[in-house]
């Protein structure tokens, strides 16, 4: 059945202005009942929500979350995840498997003198970085290891413990107190370390922790 009148076809083939019909005045239908119900439901909900969450008109943005803010303040600090620090900070150079990049970034796995050696060395490397020639697993590297002194003691301890106990490595844990002790003792140091410096006894130990450095070589 054709539509009673099809405005789109009116005056077809005539220029645009001649094929328009006037805009008709609006109809006068009354709003349906369900619309009023919706409107009042929305208004009721609004009033309820306002009452429930108006927060006493307090200017404190945490007003409604004071318990939660307090709870967070009381919480035991979460242990830092060394593996996560490693993925974020070290993995790009030393790789996920700890094998480094041949000739450029030395391996951390089985790097006996450095990673799993006396605690003082890796701590110092992390705090201030390292540069110049060094030997790892029989290969010579000569690059620049950035310092990570801006990480806090917990983070440095966690990532060092992580690399000392990952892959084939199995050495003792490093604690935040040890990191703090070295940071304290080397407070004046800004330049990166060199291999020669770190291989001395003085730079291998953690002051106040370890008086019997492990013999190297």
């Amino acid at each position: 059945m054709p539509e009673p009148s099809d405005p789109l076809n009116e005056g077809a083939r005539r220029p645009p202005l001649d094929r328009e019909r006037p805009l008709e005045p609006e109809g006068m239908e009354a709003p349906p009942m369900w619309l009023w119900v919706t409107i009042f439901a929305a208004a009721f909900f609004g009033a309820y929500y306002m009452g429930a969450y108006v927060g006493d008109f307090s200017a404190d943005p945490h007003y409604m979350y004071r318990d939660r803010v307090a709870a967070v303040a009381d919480e035991e600090p979460v242990a830092v995840d060394g593996g996560q620090v490693y993925t974020q900070r070290c993995q790009t150079c030393h790789q996920a498997d700890g094998e480094g990049v041949s000739g450029v970034f030395p391996p951390l796995n089985r790097a006996e003198q450095w990673v799993t050696g006396p605690e003082g060395r890796p701590i110092r490397i992390l705090l201030h970085g390292m540069e110049g020639e060094m030997e790892v697993r029989g290969n010579i590297y000569n690059g620049q290891m950035p310092g990570f002194g801006r990480l806090d003691d917990e983070e440095i301890a966690a990532v060092l413990t992580h690399i000392r106990q990952s892959w084939d490595n199995d050495a003792s844990e490093i604690t935040a107190d040890q990191v703090a002790a070295v940071r304290d003792a080397e407070a004046d140091r800004t330049a990166p370390w060199t291999a020669d410096e770190l291989l001395t006894e003085e730079r291998s130990t953690v002051p106040g922790f370890d008086d019997t450095p492990v013999a190297d070589e």
Binding site: P2, D6, N9, R19, L23, G27, E29, A30, P31, G46
Partner: protein, 487 residues
Amino acid sequence: MSTTAAASVEEKKMRPPEGWREEVDASVRWPVIAFIASGTFWLIVGSVLALLASFKFNHPEWLVEQASLTFGRVRPAHLQTMIFGWVSMTGFGVLTWLWARLLKTKMRFGWLQLVSVAVWNVAMVIGTIALLAGFSRSIEWVEFPLFVYIIIIGAIAIAALPLFEMLRRRRVHHLYVSIWYIGAALLWGPFLLITFSLPIYEGVAHATANWWFAHNILGLWITPVGLAAAYYFIPKVIGRPIYSYHLSILGFWTLALFYNWAGLHHLVGGPAPQWGVTISIVFSVMMVIPVVVVALNHHMTAFGSLKAVLRSPTLRFIVFGAMSYTAVSLQGSFMSFRFWQEITHFTHHTVGHAHLGVYAFATMVLFGSIYYIMPRLTQWEWRSSRLINLHFWTTALGIGMYVVALTIGGILQGMTLLDTSATFMEAQFITEPWLYARSIGGTLMTVGHLIFGYLLYSIILKKGPELEGPVYFAPVLRSGASSSSAS
């Protein structure tokens, strides 16, 4: 003299003469074309900027050598060219035409609008270059340097002068609902710009004013023009009256009352006082009322005219836009809730929502309006219904993909961000496929914009074959029984 006689004299003076449409359309021809063409230019500039920004999500290392092409500059430049170039300028052209048609009076001092277009374009050029050169105010939605907004406010004021003059000389008694929306937007838009340009905010108050402004530019400047166009074209093309005058009134005044309060829901979880945020959530929910009212009014008008919607380019775009308005508004009411924002805040989800509003609603309605207006202004038909069809499907599918991808991708991103065992990067990687889909959608839309730009160029310069009769998606029936009965 009796009062009735006076009234009828008055009425006679009011009645527009025969052929008023030709007269009225001729008077607004060049200003409206200038606004629409400029807006379309900015649409294409904005699309290129958008694609740059979008591709950077897929290939972060792409085009990073020049500071001017980095994400932090391209993205605000995209936003500003789209809002103050495309939507605002084209919107001004469309509202000027609607205004003239609905007041049935011709525009005097049309040259003022041409001056306005020129000034406005200069402001846009300066602003865009400034953003790319690094002079951003870093305030979302108002990144241009301050003086650019002052020029734009001036341009709007100049362009509005002839419109107010027309209101004085109107040849109608009853002001149609579209006139209310446009008139209100002409007051609200500059008011928003002026108020937020004042140097009186600091800190949390600044953030609060910022979101009040940004949300209202959408709700009280862009939305009213879109609704005015939908209110005009749906009944006009279908040939049936708007369902209910009462609903029109209800929809207008509830929008006017509620929208203004909603902006602060952008600061959920931020440092603003709780009660302010709560009030904005309440009014975001109350926005359901004007939205349902308008949807009902439009739906009841278009109901049963599916054929016309499928055949007429104007209607197809506008009905798509009107449906998107309902969708985006209801989604927005829901998104204002705190429990939901815990997931979606600061994710791509919000970006999807913004495009559902500014694109799927406002932009599609503008396209539809232009398909109706231009043949009247130029006395020339669109060159090809195929191309219009292609324009519709590229943009409709493009925005569809875009919104679906970011809506889902954003939720996944938000849930991963909340998961304390996941790293920040995991929350980024999970969005990868969705961001590819976004780029594909954006590319489709841009193709559509180029087609539209070509069609617009052709009709303004009267290129292409001289066609007889309207360009519809289906062939026009030869004047048969149905058409001879009318007119």
